[in-house]
């Protein structure tokens, strides 16, 4: 105790002196040259932007791989945490949906972050699709009435048996106002209409799909799954 007391004062004094010395304004050259700020830019800002563009261009797997590599813990993050995370969630969720919950990204994503993304089992695929629906639902909620977010939520909902009715309701509402924002949305609507026995409606949706589709994804408007035409 005595020893501690005897040391505490000099230590306190030394610490205080050090703190004062550290806080004193020193001339820039004392740091060893001209001082200039170094801005650190989060590389994910550009990365997510690139992933979005790849998704738009139909390179679904490349976009998914980028997001998993950049944000391997993405499942632990709320999709509305920041706009950057929200955008990353959207890209990965849509990729998972378009590959029916099984993303063949084994070659480009390290083993230790692959998790369930490869969708090797039915359970993994279901996990991925559930996660995608949850993410896209939260995004659509955050963006209120945004037709693009609602179109994408419907695309995900259509993959789960118990939410196909909800998916069709959303897409029919949007179609009535000409607010379906993607060819994938119309392809999904065509599938849902076919499931409900509406062949004429299916043909109309596929026609609309064909006029909107990016050349790289035209196959989705011929009734083929997105994963068979995406890269």
């Amino acid at each position: 105790m005595t020893f501690t007391k005897s040391l505490s004062r000099p230590l306190f004094a030394a610490f205080t002196a050090f703190a004062f010395a550290g806080s004193a304004a020193a001339p820039a050259r004392a740091c060893g040259g001209e001082w200039y700020p170094i801005y650190e830019v989060d590389p994910r800002i550009e990365g997510v932007d690139t992933a979005e563009k790849k998704l738009e261009d139909g390179h679904v797997l490349a976009s998914a791989g980028m997001v998993i590599r950049m944000i391997p813990h993405i499942k632990t993050l709320s999709p509305t945490r920041t706009t950057l995370i929200q955008r990353a969630h959207r890209v990965l969720a849509l990729a998972a949906v378009r590959y029916d919950g099984a993303l063949p990204v084994g070659a480009e994503v390290p083993d230790y972050v692959q998790g369930t993304w490869l969708g090797k089992t039915a359970e993994d695929r279901k996990t991925n699709l559930d996660w995608a629906v949850k993410s896209l639902r939260e995004i659509a909620k955050a963006k209120k009435d945004d037709p693009a977010s609602r179109t994408e939520l419907a695309e995900a909902l259509a993959k789960l048996d118990d939410s196909k009715a909800e998916a069709r309701q959303i897409l029919e509402d949007l179609a009535q106002k000409d607010l379906i924002t993607s060819a994938d949305g119309y392809a999904t609507l065509a599938t849902l209409r076919e499931g409900a026995g509406d062949q004429e409606g299916r043909r109309a949706a596929l026609e609309r799909c064909k006029t909107m589709a990016h050349p790289s994804q035209a196959g989705i408007c011929e009734g083929r799954p997105a994963s068979s035409v995406a890269t």
Partner: protein
């Protein structure tokens, strides 16, 4: 730094670019259009009694300046300028003068886009010079006052009472005129000679009157000279804009009425200033220059993709105001998240999918950007054509022309957009 992403988006898509992009009529084209021949009309009589002052609530007007964000483009509003990331001309000026903190390649790219959109007139001392009733009319129905300036006053969502209150505020420092007449004895002929001698035509156009000597050439000279030329109003508006009781004072010592004016002091004598004033307000003018309506071109038969529309129209003209708030610090521009007194429209033209998501109209509902208007024209095309009509002096009731306050896009650009929509909007 946190504003950089927003500026990146806003500025990379800024306004409009060079004529090779086919987007807009240039300032030169505007000047050429302003001398279109038309029948001669008699001289307008010079009023001899002050017009009854338009009533207005200056206190409310002061608040409206902030609501309509006049200080987003203009200095001299009596309010501090808006922050740099929202301020049109301050931001452009910083880019042009190298003060803006961005990399050299980006600055070089932005410079090409912002060059025509560098200046807006200061409102300093407006009340000492302008008639309040003219300001009210101008705010309600803006006309293109400055033929060498690419941008012009936008058509705001402004009511008559808003215009009156704003005008009352902007003319708050005006003294009541004892007379609305110029002093007797001025000579139109001598006034014309003086205007020619002083080289007023080096900056000003005077549409409806014989062309003034000294063709302006904004491409040469110092920045200050270029700015003076760009901001110089067409003199045909003097007779409606200016208070008669201060016009002579303005000609004698412009800075005494507007401290930051670019109008030089020409060293007129009192008699000369009177002659020039008499000439400006009394010389017979031809009717307002007619701007021919743009041709409506037929739909293209070749395939048109979104990539082409984006490159030639949307990225040049539209995205500066209709941007993506997610990558711009929450600010999607006045045409998306609101501004200039406009409610948020949630219109984002930055991608194919966001454009397809439409906009929120006055009824609070989402509508497609491509929905048919009364005559069957898609809304987007109708808005582009409405701007062309506004330039021709015929605003379309119930439809605000786009791009707001900027030159209309070319007939070819409208044709491209219309053809793309007619083809089903392929990506």
């Amino acid at each position: 730094m946190r504003f950089l992403p927003s500026l990146l988006v806003l500025l990379s898509a800024v306004a409009c670019s060079s004529s090779k992009d086919g987007g807009h009529a240039s300032a030169t084209q505007k000047a050429a259009a302003s001398v279109t021949a038309a029948p001669v009309k008699a001289a307008e009589p010079v009023a001899t009694a002050p017009a009854p002052e338009v009533a207005g609530d200056a206190e409310r007007g002061e608040k409206l300046v902030l609501q309509f964000e006049c200080n987003r483009c203009h200095d001299g509003t009596g309010h501090p300028a808006m922050a740099l990331e929202k301020h049109c001309t301050h931001c452009h000026e910083d880019i042009m003068t190298g003060r803006f903190g961005a990399g050299t390649p980006k600055i070089a790219e932005w410079k090409r886009s912002v060059t025509p959109y560098r200046y807006a007139p200061s409102l300093e001392g407006a009340g000492k010079r302008f008639r309040r009733e003219w300001l009210v009319r101008f705010l309600e129905n803006p006309v293109d006052l400055r033929p060498h300036l690419a941008a012009s006053m936008p058509r705001l969502a402004i009511s008559e009472s808003d215009a009156r209150d704003l005008a009352a505020y902007l003319t708050r420092d005006a003294k009541t005129a004892k007379s609305d007449a110029l002093a007797e004895g001025g000579s139109i002929r001598r006034g014309r000679e003086l205007v020619e001698q002083k080289g007023c035509g080096g900056c000003h156009a005077f549409s409806g009157e014989r062309p003034l000597p000294s063709t302006p050439n904004p491409a040469v000279g110092t920045d200050a000279q270029k700015k003076a030329v760009e901001l110089a109003p067409d003199l045909r508006h003097v007779r409606e804009r200016f208070r008669r009781d201060t016009l002579v004072s303005w000609l004698l010592a412009p800075a005494s009425l507007k401290a930051d004016t670019l109008m030089p002091t020409h060293g007129f004598t009192d008699a000369e200033a009177k002659d020039v004033a008499t000439y400006l307000v009394s010389v017979p003018l031809e009717a307002p220059p007619a701007v021919a309506p743009r041709a409506k071109l037929p739909l293209l038969t070749r395939p048109v993709t979104y990539a082409e529309v984006e490159k030639q129209v949307l990225s040049i003209t539209c995205r500066h105001c209709h941007g993506n708030p997610d990558i711009a610090g929450g600010d999607g521009g006045p045409g998306n998240t609101g501004g200039f007194g406009f409610a948020p429209r949630s219109l984002d033209l930055s991608t194919y999918r966001s454009a397809a998501a439409g906009l929120v109209k006055d009824d609070g509902e989402r509508h497609s950007l491509f929905e048919k208007t009364a005559d069957g024209t898609p809304l987007l095309v109708a808005a582009l054509r409405a701007r062309q009509s506004e330039e021709a002096g015929a605003p379309v009731p119930g439809l605000r022309g786009m791009p707001l306050g900027l030159p209309a896009v070319s007939a070819e650009a409208v044709q491209l957009v219309e053809s793309w929509i007619a083809q089903g909007r392929p990506q």
